[in-house]
């Protein structure tokens, strides 16, 4: 009796869902996009390992200026593949956690990774005592690369990653609290958006026909973000977060929130649970 009820309810739900939400079983067509995404992640990780080596070498050589210059361009590749990196929560915490995650904040001896180095370089303007932290970061990044190369990427994590990246930006990055010492947040944004858009673009052919309006809206919002970030290009990278105008911050916030809303339906649209 009870079960019958449940079935009736879900049949009704399907009826109510209308033409836009004709979800099916996960498609075999996902095999290629996931394989392509794996290549994308591997390439990004290779660059991350090489860049982190140069960045940590600079710290250990006491070259503050060089280390500062390499910080943001090194991180950007981590940010781009964050949803996959986060599958290993021990490494994510070790590589990319913030002072807020530690009871004693910056002074906490357990505070590691990129942001601990960022704190030393910008707030303390020194590389003193940073060598062991740099060594650990490089080891962690290499370990991440190894673990991911051995990993079969779960399709729902890959597709869900497009939205997960936007959720991260919406919840804790749009405010400029991520890179609070160096203010290089716009680089991170770029990494996050690239990573999210890559996933969307890979699965796009699978839904383009059925979900034309959705695809147009999502790419429109990605375009808005790109045009807005483009205004803050400086050399090979981006201006500091404090240069971001109030108006542009609003535009980015609305685009991020809407991308998070829309991309949250991507898994369902592809029949993934």
């Amino acid at each position: 009796m009870h079960m019958k009820h449940l079935f009736a309810a879900s049949a009704l739900a399907v009826l109510l869902a209308g033409p836009v939400h004709a979800e099916g079983e996960p498609s075999l067509d996902l095999v290629q996009p996931i394989a392509d995404y794996k290549i994308y992640v591997s390439e990004r990780l290779q660059t991350l390992v090489a860049d982190t080596t140069a960045f940590t070498d600079a710290i250990k050589a006491g070259d503050i200026d060089k280390a500062k210059a390499l910080f943001a361009p090194t991180r950007i590749n981590y940010e781009a593949v964050e949803p996959i990196a986060e599958l290993f929560s021990d490494l994510d915490a070790s590589i990319d956690s913030r002072a807020d995650d530690y009871e004693q904040g910056e002074k906490d001896p357990a505070f590691p990774g990129f942001h601990r180095l960022e704190y030393g370089l910008w707030e303390q303007n020194s590389t003193e005592g940073l060598a062991p932290i740099a060594d650990k970061l490089l080891a962690d990044v290499k370990e991440l690369d190894k673990r991911i190369s051995d990993l079969t990427l779960p399709p729902e994590k890959v597709v869900g990653g497009a939205a997960a990246l936007m959720e991260e930006v919406a919840a804790t990055k749009i405010s400029g609290e991520e890179d609070r010492y160096s203010h290089t947040d716009l680089w991170d944004f770029k990494g996050n958006f690239d990573g999210s858009r890559k996933i969307f673009d890979l699965v796009r052919p699978l839904i383009e026909e059925k979900e034309g309006e959705f695809v147009t809206k999502v790419s429109g919002n990605f375009d808005t973000v790109e045009t807005t970030l483009e205004k803050y290009k400086s050399g090979d990278g981006y201006e500091t977060y404090d240069k971001l105008s109030e108006d542009d911050r609003k535009v980015l916030a609305a685009a991020v929130n809407t991308l998070a809303e829309d991309l949250s339906t991507l898994r369902g649209k592809l029949g993934l649970d």
């Binding site: 309810a9 879900s10 009704l12 739900a13 399907v14 109510l16 869902a17 939400h21 979800e23 919002n221 108006d247 609003k250 535009v251 916030a253 609305a254 685009a255 929130n257 809407t258 998070a260 809303e261 949250s264 339906t265 898994r267 369902g268 649209k269 029949g271 993934l272 649970d273």
Partner: protein, 430 residues
């Protein structure tokens, strides 16, 4: 994750079995700590959302109120229309109630579900107002800005925190229960994410008071322990509301603004520990009323008795700088400065110094911002009560005229005025 789900499902099944057994063994209702509290039965109370004016202004205050301020995108007139139409759709659904659509479970549900699959009206009103920045930042809107609308500026005792001030759009959400206001806010945030970005919010409550035997309802108390609202103008008196609250053709405002009103929001922190350590007599002289009854000092028994300042020119009964005397001196001409107050008490947390962060979410409406709130506040500047108050947030806004019928949408008058202006400009250029 699968394990967790399995356990939860198993737990639910087990609980169901236990409950069935209990029902079988013991027909009398048993009560568990996790039973939902018994409600007031007011979930079906419904406020109309259509009318010449928006709801939530002369509507009697329900228990729960909230102001949510947003930044808006709306870079072009058609974005503005889209925003207002979508807002109208949400307001119609949320305030009138109904079943939320269901989708395939592989998709995120279209509704948060926090009030269940069927949304009850629960006395909800959603009142929409626009801030000065909304007009100032858009050249095509600037000429249509209400004449008195301005960005709120600091009064001498203010310590404004920019993170809880101003905004392009405010929503005033009021309902019998907090779940309903929160549900409505989450619905709007979700459905208008491409046009509106949340900036700040403040929630508040008014204590519910049973009518006394003769049918009179006394005013609720604020967090200073005094009755608040005793001398508020009668919101059921249409003629009075026309004069005090509603902008009309004779107000000198842009034509589109007819039927609207100015909204003032002030987040006024009360230093309650210090207030509670102040002698009762001093508290009463500072406010100008008897704390227990709410009656004016020196004359009257109840809060509804009127103070006789003309017989007390030196302030022997009611000090000349008492809050209620400064706010409304009842002198000839001062009726021009009447405002309609609709405040809620708020309680937020603890300050860095370990004091309670509570106070008044002051909201008022008036047809003329300058003659209304600004004049009243200027009279209050320097009052003895300031020692116990610190206004920290809020702003000035213009509340849009009402949605006249089901084919109408909120702010249509403004959108039409924009279109008329632009066609006038283009015909001038020809």
């Amino acid at each position: 994750m699968l394990k967790g789900l399995g356990l939860a499902a198993g737990g639910g099944l087990a609980a169901g079995l236990i409950q069935n057994q209990a029902v079988a063994a013991e027909p009398a209702a048993r009560h568990h700590v996790t039973d939902a509290p018994v409600g007031s039965g007011n979930l079906d109370q419904r406020q109309p959302y259509l009318g010449v004016h928006q709801a939530g202004i002369v509507t009697p205050r329900p228990s729960c109120g909230m102001i949510a301020a947003f930044d808006a995108l709306a870079h072009r007139p058609d974005d503005l229309e889209k925003l207002l139409r979508r807002l109208t759709e949400r307001i119609a659904l949320l305030t009138q109630g109904g079943r939320m659509p269901q989708l395939d479970p592989k998709l995120p549900p279209p509704d948060s579900g926090i009030v269940g699959p069927e949304v009850k009206p629960d006395n909800l009103t959603i009142t929409v107002s626009l801030g000065s920045s909304f007009f100032d930042d858009r050249p095509w809107l600037a000429p249509l800005k209400p004449r008195k609308l301005m960005r709120m500026t600091k009064f001498p005792n203010d310590a404004l925190d920019r993170s809880i001030c101003h905004g392009d759009i405010t929503l005033q959400l009021c309902a019998n229960t907090q779940d309903t206001t929160i549900h409505a806010l989450r619905d709007i945030v979700k459905n208008l994410s491409d046009q509106m970005v949340l900036r700040w919010k403040q929630e508040g409550n008014v204590p519910a008071i049973q009518p006394s035997a003769d049918g009179t309802v006394q005013s609720a108390r604020n967090f200073l322990g005094f009755r608040d609202g005793s001398a508020n103008p009668d919101s059921e008196d249409d003629t009075l509301m026309k004069r005090i609250v509603w902008v009309d053709e004779s107000s000198g405002e842009p034509h589109w603004a007819t039927g609207g009103t100015y909204q003032v929001v002030r987040i006024i922190r009360n230093f309650v520990e210090r207030w509670d350590r102040t002698p009762l007599g001093e508290q009463e002289r500072i406010i100008g009323r008897v704390k227990a009854s709410g009656a004016p000092l020196g004359n009257g028994e109840t809060e509804f008795d009127l103070p006789e300042y003309s017989q007390d020119p030196e302030g022997k009964m009611t000090p000349l700088d008492a809050h209620i005397r400064l706010a409304n001196p009842r002198t000839p001409g001062s009726e021009e400065n009447l405002i309609l107050r609709r405040p809620f008490n708020y309680s937020n947390g603890v300050t860095k110094s370990g004091q309670l962060d509570q106070g008044l979410l002051f909201i008022c409406y008036q047809a003329d911002l300058e003659k209304g709130f600004i004049t009243v506040q200027q009279r209050l500047d320097g009052e003895p009560l300031e020692e116990y108050l610190k206004p920290v947030g809020g702003g000035y806004f213009y509340t849009l005229p009402g949605i006249v019928d089901e084919n109408d949408y909120l702010g249509r008058q403004l959108v039409q005025a924009v279109a008329e202006n632009s066609s006038m400009r283009s015909s001038n250029q020809e």
